[in-house]
Every structure is written in C-alpha cells, then in structure tokens.
Symmetry: C2
Subunit: 263 residues, 2 copies
Amino acid sequence: MQALASRLPGEDLLYLGDTARVPYGARSGDTVRRYSHRVAGHLWRRGIKALVVACNTATTWALPSLAAAGAELGVPVLGVIEPGVDRALAVSQRGHVAVIGTEGTVRGGAYTRALLARHPGLRVDAVACPLFVALAEEGWHEGDIAERVAERYLAPLRAGADTLILGCTHYPLLAGAIQSALPDVALVDSAHSTAEATARMLGDHALLRSAGGGQQRFLVTDHVERFHVVGERFLGGPLGEVELVDIRDDDGEAFGLPGSAHR
Amino acid sequence: MQALASRLPGEDLLYLGDTARVPYGARSGDTVRRYSHRVAGHLWRRGIKALVVACNTATTWALPSLAAAGAELGVPVLGVIEPGVDRALAVSQRGHVAVIGTEGTVRGGAYTRALLARHPGLRVDAVACPLFVALAEEGWHEGDIAERVAERYLAPLRAGADTLILGCTHYPLLAGAIQSALPDVALVDSAHSTAEATARMLGDHALLRSAGGGQQRFLVTDHVERFHVVGERFLGGPLGEVELVDIRDDDGEAFGLPGSAHR
C-alpha cells in the first residue's frame, strides 16, 4: 500500500483486509481460492479498475483463476510473485535464490516454478516460517525473540543462497532479524517491484492517472480497532478511516471462481 | 477430547475443528459468535445430545447465546470457563488468581467476571499471550524460544498470583515453559474439570451412557492433512479418520444466533 501510494500518487487506492478469515498461510489451496474470489468480487462490485493481489499466499493459490476472471471483466490483475522474481533475478550474483513464506506459499511452489521458468539453471531453496506473521502482528518484530526465531528457521539457508525473497507481506517488518541471521544475503522485498509492475500494467491498459490527489481507503471484514493498531505498525502512521464490510460466503457473485455457480 | 474420552468411555464424541476460520483469538466478539453458532448448528443437525464449547474464546463470546439456543432445542450446553473457575477456586491458597488467554478471552473478561461473582474478595490478573497458540501449532512448545516468550508475557505476574488458569486449550502444551517462568504458581487446566462437569450435566439430564464402547470422530472445515499433524501433537497419538465438512456462512440454520434470521 505504501509503495503503491508513493509510486502512483494520482490513483485512488482501496485496500481490503480479510481480517475475519486471516491468516491464510496455513489454509488449503481451495479455501484460499474461495476466500480470495469473495474478496475480489466485493472490490469488483465497488468499481475498481485494476486489482493487485497483495498477499503471497493468495497469489500462490488464486492468481491464475483471479486473472482469468479479471480478463473477462476487463479488470487487469497482478500478483506479488512475478515482481519479486524479477527483482531477485536482477539482484542475484551467484544464481542461488531462497524464498521464505507461509506454509501455503512454500507448499504451493509458485515462486520456485516462476524462478525456474525464467532461469532453469538457478538453485532455489524454500523454507516456511509461520511464526514470523504472529511475531509481526504482536509487534515483536525486533529484539531477542525475533532473532532467535529467525536463526532457527534460517539456519538451513546459511552458507547457501546469495539472495532471499521475503515471500510474505509481513516479513519486511522482520528484515532486521532476518538479516542478522543471514548477514551476507541480499533481501528482496517485492513491494517496490510490484508498484513498478502496477504502474506498467495501468500504462499498458491506458488506465494510468498521472496527476496527484489520489485517495486511500481501508476496508476490513472484522475488528476495526485491532486493524488500526496492527495496520499503523505496518504503515508507520495513522490509517484514517477504516470501514467494516460484511463479506459472507453467500455473497452472490463469486467473481469467476471455477465451479462456484454450482456450490 | 482426551479428558472427555477418558471420563466418559461410553459416549460417542464428535469433535468439530473450524480450521477454515481459526484462530478465533484475535477476532471481534460478533464474528466469534457468528462462527460459533454456525458450528453448533452443524453439530445440532447431526443429532448431538449435548454440546461442549471446548474453546475459551468461543465460550467467552458465545456461551450465553449458545446456551439459550440449546435450551430451546433441549440440548444442554457447557463451556470451559466455569469448570476452570471451579478448579482455580479449589486450588488457590492466597486468593490471588491470574488468567492467561487469547486477546479475545482477556478482552471479553468472562473469567474475571466469573471468578469475582463466586468470590468477590479475590484478586484477579489477566494477560493475553497470543503467540502461545502459534508456538503450539508450530510444535515449538518446548525449549529456548518457548521459555523466552513465556518469560516475556508472564513477567508482570511474577511475585503476584498463586494460581494461574491456562485459559486457552492450546496452553497446556506449553505448561513446561509456563511453569519455568512462574515456578511457584499452581497451573489450572480446565480439561479435567470440564470432563467432570460434562458427566454431571449428562447425569442431570438423564443422558449419561455408562457402558463402554464410545466412538470418537473428528470433523474439520479445512485442510485435513494439516489437522492430522497438529491434532496428533495434541492427542499424542493417531486421530483415525478425519472428515472434511463444508460449513458456509450461508448455512440455513444459525442455531439460535440472535438476529440471524434477518442477516
């Protein structure tokens, strides 16, 4: 959100956090896909002109079906994995890239597939670090405990990869602890490359609004008060108004989820 | 589940884990209540004769409305808070009780209210320990990291309470680390007192089946494979068959959620 607002100051940005159902990281692919299509359907009905799937787990499981549904509706859809892969390939010196993410992101293998498709000779490691999300949400992203958790998860990557993709939007908050555990590794955060790719995508579809004055709005599906606390930790400042939206599993329009008409 | 099976060997036990929507600990009271009534409705339609709300967060927010709905249907309903309070009052030597639980359990204040209703002169402290659930699910409930997390959360309780209620069903797994942080405190786990109270409740309603041969079945709303891994860590042995059930927000019968007919 920060990177998009800074790269695209003329665009109105609508953020939707599915706080009634997160974390997605340990859920099955089918459930992540179902939740992602409900969220996308809500945003689509609000008239968005483009969709950024700003979650690695949702990108892993739902990007192909969301992109197909978006194409039918004329709404371009972008995930965070391809931009992260672009950046990692530009940064890597020795062709050995590691990815850290949720259980679902690692199990789904989308990063590994995308890296190898672009560069078949690459060495790729992937490690799930589920506690990092809980640490970031708790505000314990710095200090002794965060460093010990990072050391334990990242020990298998020592003396290996030269580049590490932070494959979860919570992980940049833990960059200090991660870098302490792997001091010689270049960290890749996909936020800025995703913002660049979004600008390119809007340009390609003649949707770019280059004058300033864009607005930011935040929607959540549960517990506005807690979102203020956690969201302000991520954005480093007040969020402004946060609106509670009611997205149920029975929302009429599933925004292109295959088979959803029959469920 | 273990305590119920051991105390009530003649009863068929049906466990439902809402793995598509857990953890409930950081959600709003309204959302926990909505999810709890959907789960209860599913179990009710399967013909259960009694319901144990074996989650402290769900007991905190949903027990009164679930009990009212159960009374209309002739299904007695029991939570885990009253049995934990009974046990803590029996154990406490100096009348100073602390409760640890999720954000929601602590914010809801049901333990504090129940303790003070029974014993108005009691001193009660309550501390939320959200990371404990993530540690238990990750299998990191013992060792250095668990001990440091416990020390950090529990430092405010040192030199205070004589009795500590483990107010979340995940926390008994961390009993070692918790006891290290508070060596002189008596730990109270509500599992056994809940099983006792369940036996009493079934007896009072002439529903008790005292012969052996009870069966255990596990239902989950998402990701059967992961439930086997995590569930076997809790039960200390294989779970047998685990069935995936599809509980949507659009389930017709809300099992007595106030106002649900209009939503």
